[in-house]
């Protein structure tokens, strides 16, 4: 059995080991122990904070395998992107071109540097180990962030986004960068990411990046092909997020052209499908065999004791309680009668 829970100081060794696994893109775990520690401490402080309005909080969840207490994955959510400045992205605009005289009609795409995602809540740092790829636990980990937002909406924006790493070529170069950012930064993709520290909210972006829309047909073919394409390592996250209700196509990353998925919370399955139920102890795990059981993600229902697990039980739409094995209640750290949030997986 697995549980998703807030990161703790004791997790630092496990996280350091995870961070050593090579991952593309910049929306991953920091690489040094010092920065990982800062991230853990930031998360602990964020969970503990009394929040009126989403600000610089960052929440880091881990997926713990309860069998051996190993850490099988991480997932983070930032309360408000670019909170120290502006979160920059390219908006992918479509310009309709119509000439009555010439009887021509077609559309042209143009990328506009924009700051619209500033203040959105940002999902980040999603990673699961090899063994859990594609498992229900991976889905639980990804979704647990949104369940926490359902539980504590005042800590987050009404809108969410997730940048996913874009494609790179065999030399870790980025065809999108070569066609665009390089012309302004005059340096290689990796050097630029190093200089900017993976951030998307720095003043130097305004100073260096193009201020006028980039007409996509003018980009070389390989750069166009890279727009909105995910790095193969991001496929799991992409599939989980689009199933959740996130939409691609509107925004891409200013550096590597990777997709930025975004959605209003009203479009996300976790928000629209979350049911608040009172948990009871299931007396007999078999006595609900009359209906085929449904797989739910279930999280504890208070923001200062957040945990999430997977449980199978009868469809909850017409119920006011959810009967769970005592073991699950224990893992969630709740008692009979406490409130839980349930979402179909």
């Amino acid at each position: 059995m697995y549980v998703v829970r807030p990161v703790e100081l004791a997790d630092i060794d496990a996280l350091e080991a995870l961070a050593a696994v090579p991952m593309p893109g910049v929306h991953t775990l920091p690489k040094t122990r010092e920065k990982i520690l800062a991230m853990i401490e930031g998360s602990i402080a964020s969970f503990a904070a009394q929040v009126d309005i989403a600000s610089e909080e960052s929440y880091l969840l881990v997926l713990e395998n309860l069998t051996d207490h190993s850490i099988a994955g991480t997932a983070a959510i930032f309360a408000a992107a670019g909170s120290n400045g502006t979160y920059f992205s390219f908006r992918n605009d479509v310009i309709q071109q119509v000439s009555r005289d010439l009887n021509i009609s077609h559309s042209v795409h143009a990328l506009t540097l924009c700051s619209e995602l500033t203040g959105y809540s940002q999902l980040s740092s999603f990673y699961v180990g090899e063994r859990e790829q594609g498992s229900a636990e991976a889905a639980l980990l990804s979704r647990a962030r949104l369940m926490f937002a359902v539980l504590a909406p005042h800590r987050f924006s009404d809108r969410f986004f997730v940048p996913l790493a874009g494609v790179t070529d065999t030399n870790s170069g980025s065809p999108f960068w070569d066609a665009l950012g390089r012309k302004f930064f005059q340096m290689d993709f990796l050097d630029a990411e190093r200089v900017i520290g993976g951030a998307r909210n720095r003043t130097l972006i305004v100073e260096l990046m193009p201020h006028y829309p980039v007409y996509v047909p003018l980009l070389p073919g390989d750069a166009q092909a890279a727009m909105g394409q995910i790095h193969p390592s991001g496929e799991l996250a992409f599939n989980l997020l689009t199933a959740e209700g996130f939409e691609a196509d509107d925004y891409i990353d200013i550096f590597d052209g990777g997709p930025i998925l975004q959605a209003h919370k009203n479009s996300l399955r976790t928000f629209t499908g979350a049911l608040q139920r009172r948990a009871t102890v299931a007396l007999d795990a078999r006595d609900r065999g009359r209906e085929p059981p449904v797989r739910y993600a279930i999280s504890s229902g208070t923001e200062h004791n957040f945990r999430a697990v997977i449980a199978d039980c009868a469809a909850l739409e017409a119920q006011v309680t959810v009967a769970l094995p005592a073991e699950v209640l224990g893992t969630l750290n709740i008692a009979d009668g406490d409130t839980v949030i349930c979402v179909r997986l």
Partner: protein
């Protein structure tokens, strides 16, 4: 003798004959009797001053007085872009610089503009192949500057001339292929033909509106910005000698340069002089010549000063102390007589003599 003169209503047939001999390179002189007739009407009204200055279109023909045949044509449009928007790309500079990481990038940009709206335009130059010898091309092209120097009040301060842009030998325009084709989705020749017949609203509809960084274009498109068609290089040099400069405006389709000048800074405005027809009044050979005596005879453009019947020739007789001794044939060609004022300008520009 070759005379460049204001076009007359009865030149239409001869003009048509000449237009049939023009290749495809000249879009403004198509052998179309209706279009030509309309344009000629405007030209005649322009010299007669019966239409407003900004609507005028002064056309000049070069006539071979020995045969009565027309050898060439050229024109000055009073003002462009007042009926239909006149588009250009203007080349600008944007600097992207970050002190924090010590990057300083200077980028060229293209802005879609109508900045040249209202300018006076030199246009429609064509010299029949039979006459492409000696100074004939210069005579025809430069006649317009003498006309402007004589009647500067008829023109706006800004003078322009559009030059045909670079094309490869097979007619391919690298600039159009790198930019325009993505938005117009048709061949360059087709676009060219549409603009020639005045169908220009598609430009507003289809052209990208936002400033473009030149660096986005393919290399071969970048390289030809402001470059003229090989066959146009001599015409460009002639205009540059008269004081026109490339100031960063190019054609939106082929990136051919627009040359520009302030009328008041033209060589013709600075150096042309009025003289009286007749022998020099003070034949003081020691010091009456121009400051730097020329080694050989310097050809001189000479025009009369009549607007409605403007005429100009190339003479070998330089003015001396305000007088110019034109031959009887020359006076005849200019329709002037002893004592009349004429305007003269050396055919070729000289560098500043004082430096």
């Amino acid at each position: 003798m070759l005379v460049v003169r204001a076009i007359q209503a009865d030149d239409l047939d001869a003009l048509y004959v000449m237009a049939t001999q023009v290749g495809s390179g000249m879009t403004t002189l198509k052998p179309d009797m209706k279009m030509m007739g309309d344009r000629l009407d405007i030209a005649v009204a322009s010299f007669a001053e019966t239409i407003a200055p900004e609507k005028r279109d002064y056309m000049f023909v070069m006539e071979d007085t020995d045969t009565g045949r027309l050898a060439g044509v050229c024109a000055i449009k009073g003002a462009v872009g007042l009926n239909e928007p006149f588009y250009n790309y203007r080349i600008g500079t944007l600097v992207h610089s970050s002190r924090e990481i010590d990057v300083f990038t200077r980028m060229e940009t293209l802005y879609l503009s109508n900045d040249l709206t209202g300018s006076t335009e030199l246009c429609s130059l064509f010299l029949h192949p039979d006459y492409r010898t000696g100074n004939n091309g210069k005579l025809l092209s430069k006649s317009r500057f003498l006309f402007i120097a004589q009647f500067p009040h008829l023109f706006t301060e800004k003078l322009i001339a559009e030059m045909r842009g670079y094309q490869e030998e097979n007619g391919r325009s690298p600039f159009y292929e790198g930019l325009g084709r993505h938005f117009f989705k048709m061949d360059f020749d087709h676009v060219d033909a549409l603009t020639a017949v005045g169908k220009k609203s598609f430009i507003a509809e289809l052209m990208p509106r936002q400033p473009l960084y030149v660096a986005y274009l393919p290399d071969d498109a970048q390289e030809v910005i402001g470059k003229v068609h090989t066959s146009t290089a001599p015409a460009r040099r002639l205009l540059e000698q008269e004081g026109l400069y490339f100031e960063g405006y190019v054609d939106i389709f082929d990136a051919g340069p627009v040359l520009q000048a302030r009328v008041s800074e033209l060589r013709a405005m600075r150096d042309s002089v009025l003289a009286q027809v007749g022998a020099a009044a003070v034949p003081d050979a020691a010091c009456a010549t121009l400051p730097e005596p020329e080694p050989g005879p310097e050809p001189v453009l000479v025009s009369n000063t009549a607007l409605h019947d403007f005429r100009m020739i190339l003479s070998q007789t330089a003015p001396v102390n305000g007088a110019v001794a034109l031959s009887a044939a020359e006076q005849d060609a200019l329709r002037c007589a002893d004592g009349d004022a004429v305007r003269t300008l050396s055919l070729n520009s000289r560098k500043y003599p004082h430096v």
